[in-house]
Amino acid sequence: MLKLTRKVGERINIGDDIVICVLEINKGNVRLGIEAPSRVTILRHEVFERIQAENLGSARGAAEDLGKAAAIWRQKGQE
């Protein structure tokens, strides 16, 4: 991992079109400004991890459980 030290107001360029700026440091919180093209997805890592974990869970579920869930759906008449 590349490690850099930056002061408030200083920037980092990633590739040709992504710029990250340190806006503010306050009591252990760092506020960043990010300029990037709209096609680039920018996420807090925790959000990405949650979505990834649900995707993994979805890919691992047993086919029998899905069949049972579908039967429950039909019973409840949730249509």
Binding site: S38, R39, V40, T41, L43, R44, V47, F48, R50, I51, Q52, A53, E54, N55, L56, G57, S58, A59, R60, G61, A62, A63, D65, L66, G67, K68, A69, A70, I72, W73, Q75, K76, G77, Q78, E79
Partner: protein, 146 residues
């Protein structure tokens, strides 16, 4: 084209229905081609089957079946995917269903990360609604039977 998935057997793929995901699914970046498999025995749940990896299939469903007020701001997705010009009827919203806990009554859906499929371009993108209050583990079944 036939795929062999160990979870539910042989799957016939129609090449003209293959959906491409330029960014892949979070956690599965290299798998970029999928098909939606609709089977009467698992309705309203569908499989989102990887074409590149026969063993990989996600479970998806229409979120409006259990959350009628669900709302997704698609503008960011449309910009990221360069889908400008396609009408709203081209875009279909699914959510990822997690049945991994082994309790079919307690399956959950990820309302925080909807899968948006452009049915005209046959492209898809999984969004992240990080500013919303939607849960990533929303129960599919209401606590009381209707």
């Amino acid at each position: 084209m036939i795929l062999e998935n160990t979870r539910f057997g042989r799957v016939a793929i129609e090449p003209e229905k293959i959906i491409s995901m330029p960014c892949g699914m979070p956690g599965f970046p290299g798998k970029r081609r999928y098909v939606v498999l609709e089977r009467p025995e698992t309705w309203p749940f569908f499989y989102y089957q990887s074409v590149d990896d026969p063993q990989l299939a996600f479970v998806i469903m229409d979120p409006f079946l259990f959350e009628a007020d669900y709302s997704v701001d698609l503008r960011k997705c449309i910009a990221e995917m360069a889908w400008t010009g396609d009408g709203p009827e081209a875009l279909k919203i699914y959510v990822i269903v997690n049945a991994a806990d082994g309790v079919p009554e307690k399956i959950t859906a990820n309302l925080m990360g909807p899968l948006i499929v452009n049915t005209v371009r046959l492209e898809a993108h999984q969004m992240a609604l990080h500013k919303s209050s939607y849960s990533h583990r929303h129960p599919v079944f209401r606590k009381c039977a209707a």
